[in-house]
Symmetry: C2
Subunit: 337 residues, 2 copies
């Protein structure tokens, strides 16, 4: 059955602008006008900038009908390949540098705090909470790695009770969700920092791996002559009420893809050297002497610190762009006063 029709719009010709004889030049202000009937100033502003950029893009490139149709087909392909555990649009955002940009805008880091990195499409919500010292790996092929970490604030005080999501690929370079026969989470866990801000766990030494390249985004990278590899890394995500959520990752120094990460995630401050576990550490943590050792002290900022910094940077950036905006709920809207 075809869907039922909605009631005819009573205001078809009342307040809406008259839209006739639209051309290459006047389509933009007219689209913005008809999109400006909502009382939501933020929505109106975001849509106005979206339409302006979309139309400018088409005008500057004189976008051909074939290119437009190819873009439509590309977007459908991205949608069709998405599943509960695969998000091709996040991947697209990642390879176009948008994810890095949005993270940088929303989570500016004061000097001395740990920088962020891209979330990527492989975080899940079903990782088990493990006790400190537990093993998060079920991969016998991986090279064992002990991680000894702390979470502190910008004054150096330990932060207890932080939930730390940790995830990495197996030794073949695949996340658990990339295996069709996945029946439980593996190579991922949640740990909780103790009273001294510490958390420690056993995993495997991360390996470089390609992002999923059998879909539209992989084909795009191929057309662009870009490789699809990410340097070896372990993901970390820190959450605690009142603290700015930190999404980051640690990268191994010397990885061949460290300077050409397909998703722009690497920052110098996030590149680490692995050590080897010495005899005393091996005995203390019950791991083999000579296995890999990752040490890292993470520094969180409070939500308040981040919001203040974000508002300050937003205000400066918008002034620099010459835009007459004000922040409402920390987000820019036109300043009509």
């Amino acid at each position: 059955m075809a869907q039922q029709h909605p009631p005819a719009a009573a205001n078809a010709n009342a307040n809406a602008p008259s839209l006739l004889d639209l051309t290459i030049d006047n389509i933009t202000p007219n689209t913005i006008r008809i999109n400006s009937q909502s009382p939501d100033a933020r929505l109106t502003y975001v849509m106005a900038r979206l339409v302006t950029h979309l139309h400018d893009f088409a005008r500057e490139t004189r976008l051909s009908t074939d290119e437009w149709m190819a873009a439509i087909g590309f977007l459908i392909g991205c949608g069709k390949i998405c599943t509960d555990v695969r998000n091709e649009f996040i991947l697209l955002s990642d390879v176009l540098g948008l994810s890095l940009l949005v993270d940088s805008i929303n989570h500016p880091k004061p000097e001395g705090s740990t920088e962020g990195s891209v979330l990527g499409p492989f975080h899940t919500h079903d990782a088990p909470i493990l006790a400190n010292g537990a093993s998060m790996t079920s991969d016998p092929e991986g090279e064992p790695m002990l991680a000894l970490c702390t979470v502190k604030d910008t004054q150096g005080n330990p932060v207890a009770g932080v939930h730390v999501d940790i995830w990495e690929t197996d030794s073949s370079g695949h996340y658990d969700v990339q295996h069709a026969d996945r029946d439980a989470p593996s190579e991922r866990c949640v740990m909780v920092s103790d009273e001294e801000g510490r958390f420690w766990f056993r995993g495997i030494k991360p390996v470089s791996y390609p992002i999923p390249h059998d879909g539209p985004v992989g084909k795009l990278l191929q057309m662009l002559k870009r490789h699809c590899w990410r340097p070896a890394h372990v993901h970390f995500m820190f959450g605690k009420e009142g603290w700015d959520k930190l999404v980051t990752a640690l990268y191994l120094r010397g990885d061949p893809y460290a300077e050409s990460d397909a998703v722009f995630g690497v920052k110098q401050s996030l590149v680490v050297d692995l050590e080897k576990v010495d005899k005393a550490t091996a005995e203390k943590y019950g791991v083999a002497e000579g296995s890999w050792l990752l040490r890292q002290d993470f520094v969180l900022t409070t939500q308040h610190e981040t919001e203040k910094l974000r508002d300050k940077l937003a205000t400066e950036a918008l002034q620099k762009l010459g835009l007459n905006l004000k922040l409402v709920d920390h987000l820019p809207v036109p300043d009509l006063d």
Copy 2:
């Protein structure tokens, strides 16, 4: 099974730019640089403008993580609802004014030729070729309408052998593909103009109807307080080797949505008055006296005429934008000479 890995990129650190410590400000030139490794100058240019606008959009709006995630979810929703006979991304392009813009760029119309209108998402490729005078309707509830049309060139000469795709909704405002039980095309056909450039057929008087509004695009219009209606119209698409493909529609004067078409399709020159069939015409065409009569003379341009005009308008527009571009295969690429 997880997919096999591609061979590691041999040139990971060779020619690709070094991407480290990317920030709100330097992510754009770096993304453009890594996207510029293909010899395809057009692809490189289009991607550079896409990335620039995408990033500028995020910077100007200080796009929040929640808004970014909502956009990702919106795009997935659009992809998921697409089928062989429903294209939500074309609909999105339509309601954002992009379809009108791309059509205007690609099919500029010289003075005196018939203007274009949006294709919309409901054209199909399975419409039957019908002989002149045939009926394209199978809807007994519709008000019968006879259409008497001609196709001419800009000098007034008839153009014979033009394939004319014609499609409209049934009297309930639904295209055949919107009925789940569709087993054959209806309210659509292809006609071929005769030696005198004529084609004529029997259909029904078109009615206003809402675009599909049960998906993400419909929800977007609702958020924007826009109605989802299109004024009553019949679609026409003209194709013949050597002639510029004309995608257009005729709209009925007096329709309540004529000036607020949800997809920006209406042009004054495409608004028509229906007449009533008189006795002589009724006898000649075997239809009831007093039924609706649509008369229209369409004017096509040659492919050469359109290309010349498109190149001229493109060159003028790019100069006006201050862009140093040249046309290759009628499409702009940077002029590096």
